[in-house]
Symmetry: C2
Subunit: 282 residues, 2 copies
């Protein structure tokens, strides 16, 4: 069925189970969902995984270059600089979710994400570790933090994510975080590939990535459990899938903009970062 | 001074006049602003014009192709399809401004923009004329209106514009419309270039553009007058310039995304429109 979906332009769905064996497990029936022609949402081959397999930015050509050691230092700088804005806005995104939530348990759980990114004190947390990366690749920290060289398309994509979490249903807001289901693999590829591929990065520079996988695992386990509990109708389940697609689009659009400006055709928009090794002569 | 600004990475400003001869005209002094080292905001060579001359999307490489008759039909389709979303959201943007405005005179004035775009009845107005363009270049109207093939980056850029108008100060919201100061020129280049360059477009297909220049002129005259009246402090004037830069970034980012997906390197993001003449074999 996944194959048929890949070939289709339009897809009509009439509701499904969360797990293929759900009706058996809860005693409401003897059939698996797939036997009734349903695609399960969760599970190794479920629709969430299918979206990840087709649209997660691990597949983006920029990542093939970055992880394959094929980027110039200037391209790595442009990536680190632009991705900084994403990292810097994650706590704003997460606080937007907490701010609209009337469930103390969910607020407490989601608060861990603020701690992960903002840390307990100056110099601690994910954003500070990301700045070790931008330092490590030779960017001026004040310049990075000023956002002066950011690609406008990065800004628009990241802000679209923040607005999505602020304005959509709580279910969609939680579901949009589910790209973390796929992040452990890309992070290990990145760590290994970048350490091997670039003499200007060290394990210390990449400390951000070493810390992330267990946190991403914990967060995505929680978000997946939440989505399972709350997405009971076919409409709600469709909204979950659309939210994940949206988030994949955000990550993909950031890399499209990076590729266009710094790889090919190398059209850097007015005002954006110009790498030393990317300056045109004359 | 414009030359010096072009070469500078950072620019410090300490306030200025709106027009170079403002102090002479209102009797507060005998010097022109420029004699005191100030750049005027308005006027042919003012800072608003300088931003237009450097960042308005007339300069974008995609427009050189489009207006020069160098696009494939599929590229023209992709442009019309993506720009449709911008057109469709303009009344939402304008209503967002009206919705936060406590001045009936400004609301009345701005309401004209709703009439221009939404028309008086079905089939009338700018959006309907834009759909004549998408029809004319051979796109299915339901597909266009569904937004199914939109580039995510187009969506993010357009929504950034709507959010800007909704969330920033009223002065910034009005100022972000000032790209219309520069639109008559690009529209006449487009009309002439596209009629000459493509056998699949007719004057009727391009009716949208024939109607726009006097409306754009009226709207930008009003917005410029408003900005002059309300941007009295250096901070407010800087905010006006930043708002215009932001809007230029929105338009530029839309064309960057189009170029990247459909011209070079032709990386169409997952789910976006694939032109007939752009389909890869196999």
């Amino acid at each position: 069925m996944t194959e048929r979906i890949k070939r289709a332009d339009v897809l009509f769905f009439d509701g499904t189970l969360f797990r293929d064996d759900e009706m058996i497990a809860n005693g409401t029936g003897a059939k698996t969902g797939r036997r009734m022609g349903h695609m399960p949402i969760d599970g190794q081959d479920g629709q969430l995984r299918a979206i990840g397999a087709q649209r997660y930015h691990r597949l983006h050509p920029f990542h093939a270059l970055l992880h394959g050691g094929k980027c110039t230092k200037g391209q790595v700088q442009a990536w680190a600089l632009n991705r900084y804005y994403y990292q810097a806005m994650i706590p704003v995104k997460d606080a937007s979710l907490i701010a609209r939530c009337d469930d103390p348990a969910l607020r407490r759980e989601w608060r861990r994400r603020l701690v992960d990114h903002d840390g307990e004190s100056e110099g601690d947390g994910g954003i500070a570790r990301w700045l070790k990366l931008t330092d490590g690749v030779g960017l001026d920290r004040d310049y990075v933090v000023s956002l002066a060289g950011l690609l406008p398309a990065t800004r628009f994509a990241v802000e679209a994510y923040v607005h999505f979490v602020r304005d959509k249903t709580m279910l969609e807001a939680v579901a949009s975080s589910l790209t973390e289901l796929f992040s452990p693999q890309i992070i290990s590829e990145r760590l290994e590939g970048m350490l091997k591929g670039y003499d200007f990065v060290s394990a210390d520079t990449l400390a951000y990535f070493a810390k992330r996988p267990p946190l991403a695992q914990r967060d995505s386990d929680f978000a997946l459990e939440y989505v399972k509990r709350h997405a009971k109708t076919p409409d709600a389940q469709q909204a979950v899938l659309k939210a994940l697609e949206f988030k994949c689009d955000v990550l993909w659009a950031m890399l499209d903009a990076l590729y266009h400006a710094y790889v090919a055709p190398k059209h850097i928009p007015p005002g954006a970062f110009v790498p030393e090794d990317g300056r045109r002569s004359g």
